[in-house]
């Protein structure tokens, strides 16, 4: 198990180096120059622009720029944002809490919605309950999360005169206010997420209900409710765990757009800003962070899988 884990972690390294190389050179292919973009409009003499480029190291050949950036990266230094001049890690750090909280809340919401509804849908297969749940889940795959966010705001605005607040209240400062603020974006991105998990839960419960041990449990007279809760649901949860983990990647994608709708100053908004400003170092840092996160989540799922199901052994 430990050897397998180490092996997997070692395999992550070339992938992440690949991500670093790809994003670095991809950005350098872009026409236009970040310094020029920064100074646009203002009447800045050419010498100043040259000096600024030299200061940021953008006047050097590409491979030297890359070696410098990558070398610093290995020492845990992500460089400074070209736009604000502050360290990339600082820029990301102050916004990470918000995005992470929305992501976690969305995951919790998705699981809370998906597990019971998916199970119900499987137990009452081909009845109206099943049909309603399936319509909910099919719709969830089609509705764009940012639009759902807008509809939520529209409804809240119409019926409760609620508008997305301009400032973010940290959880530990005022938990209630914080939750009432973030529950809506979490719901907007979590709906799609729950739809995917719901489909999985349904088919997984249906499959488990065919198993011999379920028939045995029924034969020896276990209450149907206990059969479902103890025998079927617990075993059916395994594939759902995988889906929930994999959808985390979509969640980050959904956040990029939904944060704009709810005016949340999180990682997604930072990314869009960085892209429109041509802030190379910040984009590189963010993309690497997302990739590390994604690869890490994938590994964590595989590990969790082995922990949940003793039949699975990794070598």
């Amino acid at each position: 198990m430990l050897r397998y884990l180490l092996n997997r972690i070692l395999l992550m390294i070339p992938t992440l180096i690949g991500v670093a190389v790809l994003v670095f050179f991809l950005l350098r292919l872009a026409p236009g120059d970040p310094v020029q973009m920064m100074m646009e409009g203002a009447n800045v003499p050419q010498e100043v622009i040259q000096a600024e480029r030299a200061r940021l190291g953008l006047d050097q050949p590409l491979h030297i720029q890359f070696v410098k950036w990558f070398g610093a990266l290995l020492r845990g230094d992500f460089g400074v944002s070209l736009w604000t001049g502050r360290p990339v890690l600082h820029e990301i750090g102050i916004r990470l809490e918000l995005s992470l909280q929305v992501a976690i809340m969305a995951t919790i919401l998705a699981v809370i919605i998906a597990v019971p509804l998916g199970t119900l849908s499987a137990i009452f297969k081909d009845t109206w309950i099943d049909h309603v749940v399936r319509i909910i889940s099919i719709a969830g795959l089609a509705v764009p999360s940012f639009w759902l966010g807008m509809i939520i705001i529209l409804l809240l605005l119409t019926y409760f005169s609620w508008i997305p607040p301009l400032t973010f209240t940290p959880f530990f400062q005022d938990p209630l206010k914080n939750l009432s603020q973030l529950i809506w974006p979490a719901l907007a991105v979590g709906y799609r997420y729950s739809a995917v998990a719901m489909r999985m839960m349904r088919s997984s419960v249906l499959e488990v209900l065919q198993e011999d041990y379920v028939r045995t449990a029924r034969a020896k007279g276990v209450y149907e409710r206990l059969v479902v809760a103890r025998h079927a649901m617990r075993n059916a949860l395994l594939p759902v765990v995988t889906v929930v983990g994999l959808e985390f990647a979509f969640l980050i994608g959904g956040l990029v757009v939904t944060e704009q709708v709810f005016n949340l100053n999180g990682i997604g908004k930072l990314f869009v800003q960085a892209v429109s400003r041509g802030d190379y170092t910040l984009i590189q840092g963010l993309v690497l962070l997302v990739a590390v996160f994604f690869v890490g989540v994938n590994l964590a799922i595989d590990m969790l899988y082995a922990a949940l199901d003793p039949r699975i052994r990794y070598r």
């Binding site: 790809l22 089609a142 764009p144 639009w147 529209l154 980050i252 994608g253 990029v256 990314f271 997302v290």
Partner: protein, 297 residues
């Protein structure tokens, strides 16, 4: 005394047209397909279907509520929302189809080639695909859009199509590769090799035709995702830009300022996106069940 054997009534099963068969066996998928066709017809014949010019500004009818004249109301420039949605279908379908075709085709070729040659080639290709897979679709698409900028060819932003198509490549490549790996071991491939055919001939004449099923399934499934991606990018101001009609674009900018005054500006384009994605999902799922239920996306 001999009894004549009773003639067993036997009807030769009629070979029905595959499209007809699909409609009978997968009514839901057929409904999705019908909606897609309807949407495509509206999009192609938009100038005749749409009641107004999507770009016609009418300051006399700004933010007009849905009425007999403007079925779905007007936006902050007095442009007819219904007409813009119909023209928006052009953008969505064109970008969606092209991006999905591009991404799936490149992915399928990479998958087959990778599986056919195996060994080192396969290993290197798979590592590159791993790198691309470690980005969420929208993150990769935004980065590519930022890098490539705009490049309009007959009204379609080619770079937007590339940006949306690229993240699909590794996913398609992975699925197609696993199908191709199974095919590679079949005797007729060995036979072809013994006959001395070139790699190219074996790949394109013997292997590619056999991965058409997963390929078609992926193309339809990814059109839905491409439509969503186009809407998201345009919403962020990184995709289609004004004055071109696009569903995502209709939701961005001014729409958010008129939440209460003109909710129709937000509600209808979103419904259009959802219905389009829904139709493609429905069709794609049925197509998968019909062609090859084992394929996991």
């Amino acid at each position: 005394m001999s009894v004549a054997a009773p003639a067993i009534p036997y009807k030769i099963p009629k070979r029905r047209h595959p499209v007809l068969l699909f409609i009978v066996q997968q009514p839901l998928g057929a409904a999705g397909l019908a909606f897609i066709v309807l949407m495509a017809v509206c999009a192609i014949f938009a100038p005749w279907v749409a009641p107004y010019d999507p770009l016609a500004v009418d300051y006399g009818a700004m933010l007009a509520a849905p009425s007999a004249e403007h079925w779905l109301g007007t936006d902050s420039f007095g442009r007819d929302v219904l007409s813009r949605i119909i023209y928006g279908a052009r953008t969505a379908l064109a970008v969606g189809f092209l991006a999905s075709l591009l991404g799936s085709t490149i992915g399928a070729v990479i998958g087959v080639v990778s599986a056919y040659f195996g060994g080192k080639t396969d290993l290197i290709v798979q590592r590159i695909m791993d790198v691309l897979l470690s980005f969420p679709i929208i993150i990769l698409a935004i980065t590519v859009v930022a890098v490539l900028g705009k490049n309009l060819v007959i009204g379609i932003d080619v770079n937007l199509v590339i940006a949306i198509g690229l993240p699909m490549v590794p996913k398609v490549a992975r699925v197609v590769r696993s199908s191709a790996l199974a095919i590679r071991e079949l005797p007729y491939i060995d036979a072809a090799r013994t006959a001395g055919f070139s790699h190219r001939r074996i790949i394109f004449r013997h292997m590619v035709p056999n991965v058409v099923a997963p390929y078609l399934i992926m193309v339809t499934a990814f059109v839905a995702q491409a439509i969503l991606a186009e809407a998201s990018l345009s919403f962020l101001g990184l995709g289609v830009t004004e004055p071109t009609a696009s569903w995502g674009l209709m939701l961005s900018g001014a729409a958010a300022d008129f939440y209460q005054q003109a909710p129709w500006m937000i509600v209808f384009p979103g419904i259009a996106i959802s219905l389009a994605v829904f139709a493609f999902n429905l069709f794609g799922d049925s197509l998968r069940d019909w062609l090859d239920p084992k394929i996991k996306l």
